[in-house]
């Protein structure tokens, strides 16, 4: 199956700083999503982005499908951005594979 690698595994930021999270995948995909998991375990959709670039407020994402990676940008980070960010993808019918996540801590 598809392998998904995320980096970095842990990240500590000062409030207001910018960051880039990376997701590499091992095969061609037809589905790629970024999620934020809050401390209560809820997975919140950030982007559905199998290719191209999208922006939503302080967050943006880019997927380069031909080179098998996706990037999540967080600008002007806030303490509420803390949590775990997951990349998840599939190459076929919904057998979605998640990465191990990037644990982000934003300190005041």
């Amino acid at each position: 199956g598809i392998q998904v690698e995320q980096s970095p595994p842990d990240l500590i930021l000062q409030e207001g700083a910018n960051s880039t999270l990376r997701c590499n995948f091992s095969d061609s995909v037809n589905n790629l999503q970024w999620f934020h998991q809050n401390p209560w375990g809820q997975l919140i959709n950030l982007f559905y982005i199998p290719s191209g670039t999208k922006q939503n407020g302080r967050l943006s994402a880019t997927t380069v499908a031909t080179e098998r990676y996706s990037l999540l940008y967080i600008s002007s980070s806030q303490t509420t951005d803390s949590g775990v960010y997951f990349c998840a993808t599939s190459g076929g019918y919904q057998k979605v594979t998640f990465g191990i996540g990037t644990k982000l801590q934003v300190i005041p």
Partner: protein, 115 residues
């Protein structure tokens, strides 16, 4: 519109018991998937159902089973519980009509503790 709902929120069982977890998808969604998330790891795919048929199965033992009902809600059953089954169980729904290229929406999860 209501999002994905799961019940119960929390559950405590003992080894060897059986458990049933329930999920109601977003209205209009025909596909439901189940995931297990052990502390410190990403969710692991267990099952995916579409129109009451199993469309995919992850690497889980036969103690895990699921089904989808005519109203598209779903149950996940786990028999002969082991300590290692303690985890957050997540349900996701999607329209299911895009050949696998659907956005998945997750419920709040059921936290299962096996003692």
């Amino acid at each position: 519109d209501a999002g994905v709902t799961q019940s119960p929120t929390h559950l405590i069982k003992t080894r060897g018991q059986h458990v049933t977890l329930r999920c109601s998808p977003i209205s209009g969604h025909k596909s439901v998937s189940w995931y297990q998330q052990v502390l410190g790891q990403g969710p692991q795919f267990i099952f995916q159902y579409y129109e009451k048929e199993e469309r995919g199965r992850g690497n889980f033992p036969d103690r895990f089973s699921a089904r989808q009902f005519p109203n598209y809600s779903s149950e996940l059953n786990v028999n002969a519980l082991l300590l290692g089954d303690s985890a957050l169980y997540l349900c996701a729904s999607s329209p299911g009509t895009s050949g696998g290229a659907d956005t998945q929406y997750f419920g709040p999860g059921t936290r299962l503790t096996v003692l």
